[in-house]
Subunit: 410 residues, 2 copies
Amino acid sequence: MKKKLTGAAVFGQSGGPTSVINSSAYGVIRTALDAEEITAVYGAAHGVVGILNDELFDMSKEDAGELKLLMNTPSSELGSCRYKIKEESELERIREIFEKYNIRYFFYNGGNDSMDTCSKVNDYLERVGYECRVIGVPKTIDNDLVGTDHCPGFGSAAKYIATTVAEVYKDAHVYDTGTITIIEIMGRHAGWLTGASALAGLQGLGPDYIYLPEIPFEMDEFLENVKKTYKEKKNCLVCVSEGIHHHDGTFVAKAKISETDGFGHAQLGGLAAKLAHAAQTKTGAKVRGIELSLLQRCAAHLASQTDIDEAFLAGKSAVEHAISGGSGEMVCFTRDMEGGKYKCGIKFEPLSICANMEKKVPREWITQDGTGVTKEFIDYVLPLIQGENSGKKEDGIPRFAKLKKIKAEI
Amino acid sequence: MKKKLTGAAVFGQSGGPTSVINSSAYGVIRTALDAEEITAVYGAAHGVVGILNDELFDMSKEDAGELKLLMNTPSSELGSCRYKIKEESELERIREIFEKYNIRYFFYNGGNDSMDTCSKVNDYLERVGYECRVIGVPKTIDNDLVGTDHCPGFGSAAKYIATTVAEVYKDAHVYDTGTITIIEIMGRHAGWLTGASALAGLQGLGPDYIYLPEIPFEMDEFLENVKKTYKEKKNCLVCVSEGIHHHDGTFVAKAKISETDGFGHAQLGGLAAKLAHAAQTKTGAKVRGIELSLLQRCAAHLASQTDIDEAFLAGKSAVEHAISGGSGEMVCFTRDMEGGKYKCGIKFEPLSICANMEKKVPREWITQDGTGVTKEFIDYVLPLIQGENSGKKEDGIPRFAKLKKIKAEI
């Protein structure tokens, strides 16, 4: 245990939002408000941008009940940003703001890029001798952060995807005339989310084919597979990652379907529409392309309670660890399978190893032919999608947190 | 009370599925299985197509627990069809099958077209003197059936839309850079579903503009509105019906954006992508088009419990009414607002007045400027989206009914 450090804390959210990112926010804010070492708790408007702009909210001014509703409120309640620190002057500015408010604790919630920001701030403050404890809190539906068993946000998106694929399966199989359905799922470089569609298969409602960005995409093979299955079953359901690409690295979403398809320019409608069109041309079947779009990352009504609880734990652990003297690290999850029962534990890894790297789906968790995932993959995801969200409802729709966001004054 | 009629019953599902269509199925099947007048209960595979093909399932062979799970199972479990009876020979064939199985009760679950089928079968059987009681059970997310206060399936789709719009609102408002989001909602000729997006506004999370098919669409006005709101608020959220059309009746989804947009052919990506592209060109903003697609009609996990219960009631009432001697009618809902509290009642209307007509959103429930709905509209929809579905889960995803579908033998 390092020496006791007394001062204010600031918390920021960065990168793409998730269904449970505010559960981590609540973990940080609630724990910090209750900690005697922490004299004030600030929320940065739009992450590091809010710090640079001296736009901080005083979290002590918020109603405790509203803060608690953050546990079931999707998206980044304090606002997010996609801002990469490029110059030393920005780091100086951050220190200036930290000094102004006597900020001694910095908690930053985000993905790879955000951990890079966090790391840069930490290194700079160490270098100039400004005492501050910096902890990264992981967040990404993509599940691609290195150092942690899995990422807060992934379980809820995976649950949304598995549930939605099961429901679409039911819908797509009602007609006697048959249909081909292509569902496009997020994940530009890692196939964790698209792979999660396989969990619908536990109820016999899974996709026939799954295309992940880890495996180069062959349009001809895809069309042959779809044609074969449609012929056999009168139906074919395919889940594809938005990030599938050809051997040369070109995203399929950006490439022409073929030299002769007449679509020589970028499609507006995205990958699902494009593949559906190609399948239609090949088979003459009724086709439908569905893009899950933002819904997969903001559908808090379908969040996994396990994910909500773990996201809270990540935020809480960040504060406790910092108070104990930890700094320059990211909160990581471990997986204990004691007696076959899943339990999530906490460890800490240096920010430097978590920043800027991407964890992909291991090749051995993808089936030999590259169009599905293995039992190991399913066993890995399954515990993360358990538990139903019982968030407060008003007027039959979710009642999210309503924060006052009162500007901090010093 | 007419004379007692003893014989078998057949039930069929037709048209686009909904989240709660199987709840009506359960209402019919359970009530029919328990009725002493009904000697056998058959489910037609793919609606009237299954009757024509002599493909009926024996419902008495199903497990009672699995049948009950129909209450939370989306889509048409027996299979659906979009089949219009064109020839007298088809009606003769139906009578032949009815005679084969001694079918004296025919329950048909669907929308306008299905009520037309139902009406034709009823008229034919009356004409040829084959004693059979025929009752239509309404079903459509579009809420456009005449004769009933509202339609089973609408409340759940409306709840899905209101919830999803609220969640997308949260997501679309996180960045400091702002964004324009266009959400495309089903409803080709009636704007009930698109109007339901306004219910997100009860939580302050509603769309800035709502475009219904009841009002001719003006692209220039749309672009001006979006530009103005984006400039003022740095954000703009728009909900549009798939069926919006120009003054001349051309669907916007099919029309060119303008003579000079370079997109002289039909877009693959649908209306949302097209309008998002137009808004992007006009404003330079970051835009996103989202099509709710099948999800809005199959997301049983978010079904309204009120809708589930009423759908069941519609099925049950159909059987009870037929046993009491009713025929040639459709089950209709009434609305009682005793002491300000919503209560759904049942009445019956002739099939002839329910078939082939469409009930649109009244002009006075649309705001003067045509880009929103009034409080009357919201008050109408609000009771229909109440109550959370607590359907069974397995492996963290919904556990739907698994029927054996054993072919009926005589």
